[in-house]
């Protein structure tokens, strides 16, 4: 069974350890601006939401890519960008309705969460358990899925 990132915003203290760990794992520097997971703060910092790709089944980014640069890692379920294939056209960045695949001006390629190949460093770095790596059918992940599916459907109103 695939595992996925489970995010519990209630436990997030906005310490940015996840962003640091992500940036270091992928870019080799401690720079939150280069992280693939982002903490969004609300109510003047009283509330924070860690936000990253849910590896959704619809895989909008993967299907939108014109050069097959995004593929499914069968082991982890992550949709991964092959940097040497990505041309930097950015179509995936507008196709993903979650905004979780983004253009990196420095490299001219797009970046997204790849679950660090099955050992996500954001979860490892999180000191409060706001980000954990658990079996995919476990909890709130399904809500994200449900949400993903709504992009397919007409409004009920």
């Amino acid at each position: 069974m695939h595992k996925s990132l489970l995010i519990d915003p209630e436990k997030c203290t906005s310490c940015l350890q996840c962003e640091m760990a992500c940036s270091f794992e992928h870019e080799g520097v401690f720079n939150p601006a280069k992280s693939r997971i982002k903490i969004f703060e609300f109510e003047h910092g009283r509330r924070a939401i860690p936000y990253t790709c849910t590896q959704c089944a619809e895989a909008w980014c993967l299907y939108a890519c014109p050069v097959e640069a995004i593929s499914l890692n069968m082991e982890t379920g992550a949709k991964e960008v092959a940097e040497d294939v990505c041309v930097g056209c950015k179509v995936c960045t507008i196709a993903c309705p979650f905004g979780t695949i983004n253009y990196n001006q420095d490299t001219g390629k797009v970046i997204k969460c790849d679950l660090c190949g099955g050992d996500p460093q954001c979860a490892a770095a999180c000191p409060t358990g706001a980000i954990t790596y658990v079996d995919a059918d476990w909890t709130g992940y399904d809500r994200m899925r449900e949400w993903a599916q709504k992009t397919h459907s007409q409004p009920s109103a």
Binding site: E68, V87, G88, P97, G99, I101, T151, S153, A157
Partner: protein, 414 residues
């Protein structure tokens, strides 16, 4: 079941792969008329800059990809369709019988009716073959005139500039990207290009092109004349529908299709640039010649050709563009909706701009300039018709809060 697909671009290829999965025992034949493996036009600018080779433009890796799927890719061109006998006539003299047909023949570049557009040194930049000719002519230091500053023109613009040519852009419209940007955004992009050494003439027309001193001379309506070694024409594209002229397949701006991607003739479907299908924003039928629509059309058309009944909810017009490092994007009804409201935040100094369009408390369109992070949520908000509630007045005051609004609204709903 015999499936025939006319066109080997993204719509046709995705349809072929989907058919193979959804209808494993069928035969799938794709007819493409270009002398290349199936490739993406989206990748052409990166070929021009030299950051990829030919293989980097290919839709699929692996020489045996299609053979392994038992998808027959034929190099030929459809010249006619007999929808009664269910038969496609081919330029090579043969024909293909079909049970279900997909028209995914795409579009071709069109040149304006101006004297001299047929001279040597005037090129389109639409196919890989065009791109190779443009690359040969766009040597560092060469004088190049780019006609047309629409989406395709602007994509090519970046590639030409990177090749170090002396570049002049001529756009007939009053601003750059007249169908993707408003005045504010178009003006910013123009000023950005000029700051990078590209000359941009908007509201300008070429009266005639003539041969001069081994190169070309362009006479503008303004009276000015320009010299160039290469003229790149990016003034528009038009759907490839000529081969359907004698059929009952209804055509307006493209092949009219219903929400199942079926044309007016049973068992004849259409997808991609050639299809005029349901528009998510208006409910009308529009040609959306963009990669995401080609991909969605191809997949859904194939599911229906395989005997399914999958409804297409409409395509969202959207584009993303990099103009010499300035990234812009547009979504849906960016020009505004009737009875709607507009929010704008512009920082001309830093080349940043965000325009949001609302109808009641829903986002229906947007333009973004200089913003690259999380722009996808704009599509999410539009296409899921999220009710913004209390966030709408806040966004009218400060549209840059759109990500906050997205997270808050989706978390409440989830």
């Amino acid at each position: 079941m015999k499936h025939v697909i006319i066109g080997a671009g993204p719509a046709g290829i995705i349809a072929a792969e989907t058919l193979r999965r959804a209808d494993p025992r069928s035969t799938v034949t794709v007819v493409g008329d270009e002398p290349e493996p199936p490739y993406s036009r989206m990748a052409i600018p990166y070929l021009l800059t030299g950051s990829i080779g030919d293989a980097g433009t290919h839709l699929r890796r692996g020489a045996d990809h299609f053979a392994k799927l038992a998808v027959d890719i034929r190099r030929d061109r459809a010249t006619g369709v007999d929808v009664g006998d269910r038969r496609v006539a081919l330029a090579g003299g043969g024909h293909l019988d079909y049970d279900r047909l997909l028209i995914a023949s795409g579009s071709h570049a069109v040149r304006p009716p101006i004297a001299g557009m047929d001279l040597q040194g005037v090129e389109n930049c639409w196919t890989l073959a065009d791109a190779r000719r443009v690359a040969a002519g766009a040597r560092a230091g060469a004088r190049v005139v780019l006609m047309g500053a629409g989406f395709i023109g602007c994509i090519v613009l970046e590639a030409l500039a990177k090749r170090g040519v002396e570049l002049t852009v001529i756009e007939m419209g009053e601003r750059m990207l007249p169908r993707m940007m408003d005045d504010v955004g178009g003006e910013m992009i123009k000023r950005w290009c000029e700051s990078k050494g590209v000359r941009v003439l908007t509201g300008a027309r070429v009266g005639a092109v003539s041969a001069a001193d081994g190169g070309l001379e362009l006479a503008l309506d303004s009276g000015e004349s320009l010299r160039a070694e290469l003229v790149v024409c990016a003034t528009g594209v038009s759907p490839n529908v000529d081969f359907l002229a004698d059929t009952a397949v209804r055509i307006e701006d493209g092949v009219l299709v219903d929400e199942y991607l079926c044309s007016s003739v049973a068992d004849v479907y259409a997808a991609g640039d050639v299809a005029q299908g349901p528009d998510f924003s208006t409910g009308e039928r529009r040609v959306h010649a963009i990669q995401p629509t080609a991909s969605e059309h191809g997949r859904i058309a194939a599911l229906n050709m395989a005997g399914g009944r999958t409804r297409f909810r409409g395509s969202l017009s959207m584009n993303v563009l990099n103009t010499l490092g300035l990234v812009s994007s547009s979504f849906g009804l960016w020009m505004g909706a009737e009875g709607g409201e507009t929010a704008r935040a512009a920082d001309a100094e830093r080349f940043r701009y965000l325009r949001l369009e609302f109808q009641a408390d829903r986002l229906v369109g947007a333009l973004a300039l200089g913003l690259t992070q999380h722009v996808g949520v704009i599509r999410g908000l539009i296409q899921t018709r999220v009710r913004l509630g209390q966030w709408k007045p806040q966004l009218l005051r400060d549209p840059l809060l759109v990500m906050d609004a997205y997270l808050d609204c989706t978390r409440r709903r989830a």
